[in-house]
Each structure stands twice: as C-alpha cells, then as structure tokens.
C-alpha cells in the first residue's frame, strides 16, 4: 500500500538540510569570516570588569540630603592569574596580616579560579593611592571602585537600614547579584533596593598573557553603561527624627508620628537605636556582632515589631464603637466609686468626680465607665451570643488597621494581635466566658497587642474623623496603592471622643484632666494617656495625640517601656515632638530638660 503522504518526507528532510545549512553559514561567519570574535592566536583572553553604579541618594521630606556615597576600593584577585609575589609587601601596604591574606586567597581559590573574589574590602582613597603605585608588582590582583554609604546626620537607622554584601542564597535566587556585590539589608535600603541600586554595567577588555589590558574588546561594542540608582525623597523630617531620638535617649520604647492627611510617616523612632554609620564598610564586621549581642536589642525595630497592650489610649476606640453600635451616647452617665465591681470582678480606678458622661470619662480616663461601655457592647441583645458581638467588635478594630500589617514600605512590619472569639473558646470553653471574663479589654489590657505604628495610625483615624491613608516612608517616587481606608464608625461620632481628648489635655486645672503636662499654649493638642500593665516589671507609659485639633498636621504615638503612668514620660515626649514639628523649636525648656535627664535604662539595670 502506497502511503499518500509519503512525499512529505522530502519536505521534512529538506527542512532539516535548510536549517543545517543556515547554521553552518552562521558558524562560518562567527568563527572564520568575522575576525572580531577571534582572539589572536597567542591565547589572549577577555576580562570582564563590572561597573558599579552609584547607589541612589536619600533625602528627607524637606529636601535635606541624609544619605550619600563616598568612594572606596576593593582589592580583588583572580586566582588563575596569580604569580609569585612579595606577600609581605602587599600585606604591609594594606595593613593586614599574612595569615589573613593566605586565608582569603584560599577562599578565593575554593570559590573559583577564574572569577574574581575580593581580598580586602573598602580601602580608603588614601590607602588606595599608596597601593596603586605598587599594584603592577602583584599580577592577578586589581582594584575595583565601589561606593560606600555616608550619613549627613547619624540618625534614623531603623528607617534607613544598611547595605552589606549579598549572601549566597540571594545570589542563587537572583542572577543580577554576583559574589561580593552589595545589597540593601534592612529598612529603605532593602525595601527600595531595586530603585536605589541602579543597574550594573560591564566593560570587556582584552588582556594578554601577562594579564595586561590591551584595550576594550571590539571597541566596547559589548560594553554596557552602569545606570545610576534613583534618588529617593522620604517622608520623615530629619530634624524631628533627630529630636525624637534625642528625647528617647536612655529610654526603651518608640515614637511614631504620621501626617494624618497623607499617611506620611514624619518620624519613626525605636530606642535604643544605633548610629547607621556603625554598619558601613569595614567597621560593620566589628560593630554588628556587638549590636547583636547587646541585651537592649538596638537592632530590633520596636516601632514596627514590638506589640504592647494599648492601655487606656484604647478607651477612645471602645468609646467610638459604643457610639456606633448605639449602646452608648454622649450623655450616657456611669458612676464610679474607685472602680468597677461586678460578679466578683473588680477593676480599680483612681479618685475623680462621679458620675461622669462620655467626655468627662475620656478626660478623667475612668476605668469603670469603659467597663460598663464594653459590657454593653458585648452584651448587646441584637447579637445572638457573645461570639457574634465579640466578632463584631473585632471587625471594628480591624477597620482601624489593628491586628494586621499596614503595608508600610519598610521590611519586618508585624501584625500585632487582636484575639478572635475562638481564642477564648480554647481557653475557657465555648460557653465558659462572658463579657466579664474579657473585661480588661475595655481598658486596653489583657490579650491585645498593638505596634506603635498601629497606635499612631489609629490616632490618625481619630484626627481625620474616620479614615487613614496607608502609612508610608517614601514620598518620591510615590508608593502605589495609597488610598483612604475608612474605619466603620460614622464620622459624626468622633467629635465627642475628640472633645474628651481635648479636655484631657486642656481642661481647667483641678478638673481631673489626665494629661495637662502635654498642654501647649499656642497649639490645641488632643491626647489620651495610657498606662499598660506589664507582667515583667514596671508599667509602660503610653500616649497618643494629634494637633492642631481642627486641622490635624501630626498624629503621634509614644511608648516608654517601664515609664510608669502615661503622663509621666510618654505625654511630655509626644507634646515636645508636636511642638518641635509645628513650631520648629521648643520653648518649654523645663519639660525638655526633664525628659533629657530621665534615664530609665540605668534605673532598670540597678
């Protein structure tokens, strides 16, 4: 039987011949006709010299240059090109030990005989000048120019992060990086790495058998230019940041300040901190282990990663939820006799006027008032049981950005903790708990964890009367997805709570205002103190605030660990920060001195 398609074999065979001829012609061209690909017969080779772009600069919100670059030089070696040389002379001109050099050469050989490895990193310009004259004596070694980070103000380590050598894992995952390249490791340097780093270029040189450069290969036809990294403008105010770090000196804690109308982070202090210049260049290997071992954890970014119970600052939120749910009204009045008593549970309170309405309760920070409020939220008859009402309450909290990452454009942000109803089911059994069991949540104690960033953001919602914009640290280029997130509380309800926060700071002396110390004569500041119980020691001092009342420019949260009452440290610090930001300088020197002199770290260690 003759197959009707048999002739198709000629077409298939023809295709094979056609492609083979094409390939042979291309090979003929590559290998014989086009001499440019040929390296001359005496076995010349190419050497690839990467061109490292300058890393992008970082400015603060006022256009002040914060991070820039300085030239430095790495001594590189290609083991296959090494010849006998005077090791002692090389070591002397670099101030290194012979054993160090031998170790490095061994590592380089193990890595690759043909790919350059670095021997000594970040040689200063002065040493480089000295070395360069002698370099001809050391075949196989060459110098690679690099840039190092410099800081005009040695601040904001937790925002800026640092730059270091790329690790093996990253190299295997991203082909852009080669051994010895630098990469942002934390903070902005990491989250904006792609923008800051630019693009490497490469110059290809012909070198002869003595590894002397004979000029660019093919007149640089295959060379690429390095593309410089993009500059970034950040949202933080370097003066305010510096001031904040100064105030937090000798204290453990955090300050986060946000511009409510834009979500721009004006300041982000985590204390204790470290000087960013400590982690640049050759000092890094000396300083990093010290910082890692420091028991006060200066590398730990408390502003984003530590979570605290918010204490009484949280009463503002529970008040808002009560109003929204229709179980609380501005005129609702509860009496307080040094605390809240119910079913054998006692939540104590300090002495103040009684009974109080909502504004007065915020002003005086009455515990009993908010225990009553919280119970009416959870025992609200419109819900089937506590599970429903609790989940409803939790849903409100989520809408304030609590219990979740806010998507700040920095690395390592944590979500904090807002329990679910199921959490209490696991502890007490499904029917084993009631509003009374979780009563401490009413005053921001117990099973709650908020990061300082979340507290500042929640204060932004109050300042904006109902919404926040995703907090961010970079202004230019503007991050994507900056939108308004509305808390599910009607904007009409905020005025009462804000009035209470105003009264807490600006109430007449002797009327029970808890935060009069935060008062600034020329600025209408609204705030709420918090004192968070701490099972490990003295209470944490907390304060949230925004100002001015009618056109908020700054919302702030301050946490001073083991600082005692909210009004003791956190409130004055927040007040000073706001004065500094809005007025440019601080007039109330006595408060400033009081804070600067406070040393809670030595006290703790005593």
């Amino acid at each position: 039987m003759k197959n009707p398609f048999e002739n198709r074999k000629y077409l298939i065979g023809g295709l094979l011949i056609l492609i083979s001829i094409l390939y042979v012609i291309k090979l003929l061209h590559l290998q014989i006709i086009d001499k440019s690909y040929r390296l001359s017969a005496n076995n010349n080779v190419l050497t690839f010299v990467p061109q490292f772009p300058a890393r992008g600069l970082i400015y603060d919100r006022n256009g002040e240059l914060i991070v820039y670059n300085e030239a430095a030089y790495d001594l590189m070696v290609i083991p296959s090109q090494l010849e006998d040389f005077d090791t002692l002379e090389l070591c002397n001109s670099l101030n290194i030990d012979i054993s160090y050099l031998e170790q490095k050469l061994k590592e380089a050989r193990n890595y690759s005989r043909y790919i350059p490895s670095s021997v000594v990193n970040q040689i200063s310009s002065v040493n480089y000048a000295r070395l360069q004259e002698k370099l001809y004596k050391f075949p196989g070694f060459y110098v690679q120019p690099r840039t190092l980070r410099k800081y005009s103000k040695d601040i904001a380590a937790h925002i800026l992060g640092y730059v270091g050598e790329v690790n093996k894992k990253t190299i295997s995952e991203d082909s852009y990086y080669k051994l010895g390249d630098y990469i942002g490791i934390n903070g902005i340097e990491k989250s904006y790495e792609k923008l800051l780093r630019g693009e490497k270029g490469v110059n290809i040189y012909l070198v002869d058998v003595y590894h002397r450069r004979k000029g660019p290969y093919q007149n640089g036809r295959f060379d690429t230019m390095a593309v410089a990294g993009s500059d970034l403008t950040t949202c933080f105010d370097s003066d305010l940041q510096e001031y904040g770090e100064m105030l937090m000196n000798n204290k453990i804690g955090s300050i986060v300040a946000i511009e409510p109308s834009s979500g721009e982070v004006l300041s982000l202090v985590s204390s204790p901190s470290y000087k960013p210049s400590l982690l640049v260049g050759r000092q890094r290997s000396i300083n990093y282990p010290k910082l890692i071992q420091d028991t006060l954890k200066p590398l730990f970014n408390r502003a984003l990663m530590a979570s605290y119970p918010p204490g009484s600052t949280f009463k503002t939120i529970n008040g808002l939820i009560g109003l929204q749910e229709g179980v609380l009204f501005p005129w609702t009045s509860y009496s307080c006799n040094l605390g809240y008593y119910s079913g054998g549970v006692h939540v104590s309170c300090h002495a103040h006027d009684s009974p109080l309405q909502l504004i007065g309760a915020v002003k005086n920070s009455c515990n009993a008032y908010f225990c009553n409020t919280y119970r009416s939220i959870l025992d609200d008859p419109k819900f089937n049981d506590i599970h429903d009402s609790f989940e409803n309450w939790r849903k409100h909290l989520i809408s304030f950005g609590l219990g979740q990452k806010l998507g700040l454009d920095l690395t390592n942000e944590l979500a904090g903790f807002i329990p679910k109803a199921a959490y209490f089911d696991r502890i007490y059994g499904e029917k084993g708990w009631s509003s009374l069991t979780v009563i401490s949540l009413s005053i921001g104690q117990g099973e709650l964890g908020l990061t300082p960033l979340q507290m500042a953001n929640m204060t932004s919602v109050i300042a904006n009367r109902g919404y926040y914009i995703s907090p961010h640290i970079i202004k230019e280029p503007q991050p994507a997805g900056l939108e308004r997130h509305y808390a599910d509380i009607d904007s009409a309800y905020y005025s009462t709570i804000i009035e209470g926060m105003d009264q807490a700071v600006n109430g007449m002396p002797g009327t029970g205002s808890t935060a009069r110390i935060a008062r600034i004569d020329s600025i209408r500041l609204c705030g709420k103190t918090g004192t968070a119980q701490n099972p490990h020691g003295k209470d944490h001092s907390l304060f949230i605030a925004f100002a001015p009342k009618d056109d908020p420019k700054i919302a702030i949260s301050v946490i001073v660990e083991n600082g005692g009452f909210g009004a003791t440290y956190a409130a004055p610090i927040a007040s000073l920060m706001i004065e500094k930001y809005l007025k440019g300088k601080v007039k109330r020197k006595w408060i400033e001195n009081y804070i600067l002199e406070a040393n809670l770290i030595d006290e703790k260690q005593d």
């Binding site: 298939i12 390939y23 003929l28 290998q31 014989i32 080779v45």
Partner: protein
C-alpha cells in the same frame, strides 16, 4: 518466533555507532569544561565528568535491557506507561524539589530524577499507538484534536513546573502529525501565525493591524470583478476613518491611532456585511474572517507577551528579535557563547585549551551551553563534525522511519526524529544566537543523567522495533 541471534543481526549498527560517537564526544567536552590544572590527573566520581561516566555506563546497561525486551511490550505498555508518567508529572509538581525556580526534580537521597525527560519517549509511544489504531485518519477533526490532546497534556504539566523549554519540545511532534496526513492548511495557518507573532513583537500592534487592513483591501481588489463595488467599499472605509480622525481632534481626550483604525474597521465591517448581503458577495466573508482572526491573534499575542510571559522570557525573545540589546542581562549568555564559539576560529584552540568556556561566565556550561566548548576548542572544523554527526543520525532515523512496514513503528520513528530534531535545532541555534535561549540539552552531549538515559531509551526502542520489523504482528 525468530531467535534472538536474528535480532542482533537485524540491528541497525549505523545508528548505534553514531550514538556511541556522540556520547563519547559529549563526555570529552564535559571533561574539558570541568578540567582544572590543579585537579588534573585525579579522577573522582564526585566530579561532573566522573558522574557522567557513571551515567554513560548505566546508559549502556539500560540500552541492553531495552534491546532485550520483546518489541511488542512497547506497544502494549504505551497506555499504562502514559498514565504512570502523568502521575509522576503531577507528583513532581506537589512533592518535587525546587531547583532554580522550577519544580522538575524528584530527589531521593543523593539521586535526582527529572520525569519530564522520560515523558518524551512515553508520549512518542502513546502517539504511535493512537495513530496506528485501525481506521485512524487525521482527516477527521476529532482525531486531530485527540492526538493534539495526547501531545499537549504532558506539555502543560511540564509548563506548570515551569520548564518552558522541555514543554516546547512537544510542539515538534506536529512534524509527526504532518507526515501522518495532517491537512496542509493547518501547517499553512500555523506558519502564518508564527510570522504574525514575530511581526507583532517587532512592530507595534497598530502597524501590524494597518498592514493586515492593506492586505485585505488588496485581496478585495483582486477578487472583486466589479471594481466599482471595491471603490465604494474603499471610499466608505476612508470616510469613516477620516471622520473618526476629525472626531479625535475635537474630543478632549483625543483618539489614539489604533482606536481610530479599529473603530473604522468595525463600523465599515458592519456596512460591508450589509453590502455583501445585498450584492451577494462571497469572498468578502473570507476576507472578514481573515482580518478579524488576525487582529484577535495580534492582540492576544500582545496580551500574552506582556501579561503572561515572565520578564526573563520576554527579554530572551526580544534579544533574539533584536528589539532589545542587553549584553549583560539576557543577552549576556548569548554574547558569551558567541564570543566563545567565535574565538575558536577554523581549528579551535585545542582540547582543554579553551579560555572563554573556563571562566564559568556562561552558566550551564556543561549542560545547555556545551556546544560553546565544542566551538571554542575544536573550532569550525569540530563544529562541522558535530553537526554532521547529528545530520547523519537524523537522516538515519528518517530512513529507518520510512522503511517501517507498520504504522506504529513509523510514527514512533518519526517522533524520535522530531524530538531529536527540535533539541538539535534549538540548542545549537541558541548558542549561536539564532534562536531564543530555551534551556534544553543537546542530546547525548550535554551533562545530565536523566537526559542521557531518556535519549538512550528513546533511540534504543527505535533500534529494537526496527530490528524486529520483519516479525509478524
């Protein structure tokens, strides 16, 4: 039943000699890539050339087993093997180890195994089995769809790993379908789509759509005997396009050229349909289908390219098409590879004397880019020898295919041809910069146990079924 000695006598020794030569050349070149003056003289099974030698020895044993097994076995076991292979391809997605971003490997102790390599010969067997079933004809649309499905199912699982290169290999099996009677029109359509694909990426969509419109009017002009109708049609289109262009000037946002062009095509398309109905024009329907089909294709290519393909895949295609020059990025491998091959000259630098291929500047030096070493150390002469060996092998497979009496054998042989052909063309093509960088090995030459064994099985099943072709079935 014939005796075993008869089988040995019937074996095609030419193909076996070519196979052995290629495997030997492969090992020589892997040795050269891994060669290092410091470790010269020492030999260890931990080194790549050591391990490759081990795999070659195993490959010989596997080849022996494949030849001993009864040839009917391959026909009867095609389906069970296919099912088992699909099971493996799914499991590797779930429990495979991720290496270089794709989940293609099972790792058992120190042993790694890549199921997608073995999927090739199994798919070839099942395709042969399917196409050789009685009353099978590729004239029926249903059997075309079914055979395409048989080819695509493993390809899709491999694409999910993702291993784009290995999954593209399956496209080569269309050669088999073509030889077995796939109507020529499919090949023509496939070919035009390929050209349209490249044009879409090289020029912008607007230019391509404008070109299609021009061709449509040319066709219309030649096919329409009543030139007045053509003139009317042309005027209608021009008026609409002109009107929209003026509208674009008036509207605040303006209209982009492509919006104007496409709107004019749609509006005039509606008017033409009415005209076609009134004047009973037939060919205009075909022209419509051509225009509409092409435009949809152009836009989907554009969409797929920009939204579905990964960054590195886009770049690789762009570099080959000459849209993007990126010597350090995607073009880097290709440039390195071209420099290495080009530096070989006529006679090459000699065994172990390559310099470019020793820098480790080209990644995958001993696997996908092994041809660089051949080009550098053995020069044009060596490259020519290697290409000739492959040509001889491929033509021998073609010759064997055509001498088969039964369809199963022929389809299988053509599948072997297609798979080897594709690997050969793509792998060498990418090292000399004529094809995008698609990471697939050069058969028998590249480093790697799974690939060597899979190609060995592929070839030796062919040797076996060819040797027993005279047996009655």
């Amino acid at each position: 039943m014939k005796s075993r000695t008869n089988i040995l006598a019937n074996i095609d020794w030419i193909i076996i000699i070519l196979y052995l030569l290629l495997v030997f050349l492969g090992w020589i070149n892997i040795y050269s890539v891994e060669y290092n003056e410091e470790t010269a003289g020492s030999f260890s099974f931990a080194s790549r050339h050591g391990r490759q030698l081990l795999w070659i020895i195993f490959a010989m044993i596997i080849a022996g087993i494949v030849v001993i097994i009864d040839s009917k076995f391959y026909m009867y076991l095609a389906w069970p093997l296919y099912i088992f292979m699909l099971f493996l391809l799914i499991s590797v997605l779930l429990i495979g180890k991720e290496i270089h971003g794709s989940r293609s490997w099972f790792v058992l102790g120190g042993f790694q195994f890549q199921p997608s390599e073995f999927a090739k010969f199994i798919t070839a067997l099942v395709l042969a089995k399917y196409l050789s079933s009685p009353n099978m004809s590729l004239k029926s649309f249903k059997s075309i769809i079914q055979s395409v499905a048989l080819i695509f199912i493993p390809a899709i699982f491999i694409l999910l790993q993702p291993d784009t290169g290995s999954s593209l290999v399956y496209a080569s099996l269309f050669i088999v379908l073509y030889r077995e009677g796939l109507p020529g029109i499919y090949v023509l359509i496939g070919f035009s789509l390929m050209i349209l694909f490249i044009l879409t990426l090289v020029f912008n969509k607007f230019v391509v759509v404008a070109g299609i419109t021009g061709i449509a009017f040319l066709l219309y002009f030649f096919l329409e005997p009543r030139k007045k109708l053509f003139l009317n049609g042309f005027i209608i289109f021009t008026l609409i396009a002109g009107g929209l262009a003026i509208l674009g000037l008036i509207l605040p946002g303006g209209l982009s050229n492509s919006v104007i062009l496409i709107l004019s095509l749609v509006i005039s398309g509606i008017i033409y349909s009415a005209l076609a109905y009134i004047h009973k024009l037939k060919h205009i329907v075909a022209i419509f289908l051509f225009v509409a089909g092409s435009i949809i294709f152009v836009f989907s290519v554009d969409y797929v390219f920009n939204n579905i393909l990964g960054d590195h895949q886009q770049k690789r295609i762009n570099v080959v098409l000459g849209i993007e020059s990126d010597p350090l990025g995607s073009g880097y491998n290709v440039n390195q590879s071209k420099i290495a091959i080009g530096s070989g000259g006529m006679w090459g630098k000699g065994f172990l004397r390559g310099t470019q291929t020793k820098f480790n500047f080209v990644p995958e030096q001993s696997t996908d880019f092994i041809f660089c070493t051949v080009g550098e150390e053995w020069g044009f002469a060596g490259s020519l020898v290697l290409i000739s060996l492959f040509l001889l092998l491929l033509f021998r497979v073609l010759f064997i295919a055509e001498r088969q009496k039964n369809k199963f054998n022929r389809v299988y042989a053509y599948s072997v041809f297609s798979i080897l052909f594709f690997h050969f063309v793509i792998n060498i093509g990418m090292t000399i910069g004529l094809v995008p960088v698609i990471g697939i090995p050069l058969p028998f030459i590249s480093y790697g146990g799974s690939s060597l064994w899979a190609f060995t099985i592929l070839i030796f099943i062919l040797v076996k079924i060819d040797a027993s072709r005279t047996e009655s079935l």
